[in-house]
Assembly symmetry: C2
Homo-oligomer: 114 residues x 2
Amino acid sequence: MEQYHQQLDRVFQALADPTRRAVLGRLGQGPASISELAQPFDMALPSFMKHIHFLEDSGWIRTRKEGRVRTCSIEKKPFAAVEAWLSEQRALWEGRTDRLERFVAASQQQEKPE
Amino acid sequence: MEQYHQQLDRVFQALADPTRRAVLGRLGQGPASISELAQPFDMALPSFMKHIHFLEDSGWIRTRKEGRVRTCSIEKKPFAAVEAWLSEQRALWEGRTDRLERFVAASQQQEKPE
């Protein structure tokens, strides 16, 4: 459970940056090399590589080196983790709305004149 | 656009911590006072309050003080922002799958013997 939480911390942390979100957006369209990915950003390569490493360590991307080219591709697991967290929240919420509705319905039932 | 990105940074940053996610989970079930929220955590109140302030500043919760009690409630807007981001990603992905399918279908069409 502790490990699950730590993983989720890093999954969300990875999304808390516009460069990393843009990289994921690009990789959603298909694999790309580091230089292709870095091209739209006005950023020194070492800074850009920190974002790539963060995305890799947090599980969002996989990288593979062939010759001198490192290719990145996106992973689906963290998406599933974020979606699972959102559905859990939605379930809590909807459970609460259901309980409220049952309470209102029960109150109206009791108030009905015989 | 810049402001949108900064807001999204903070929305995701808020989720990158197990205490803050737990507080949101609790508030998903209905409003609660600070002391109710703090109760399950083995944490000094000032540290806990930092999490509350972070959730408030990032737009996830609203707080209201009545007399000596501060009550927190959850906001739906950041959920919508996270869901919007996820759907955007999914659309990119599915667009890519569609393009791949069309490509494969077109290739098969061309390869068909007359």
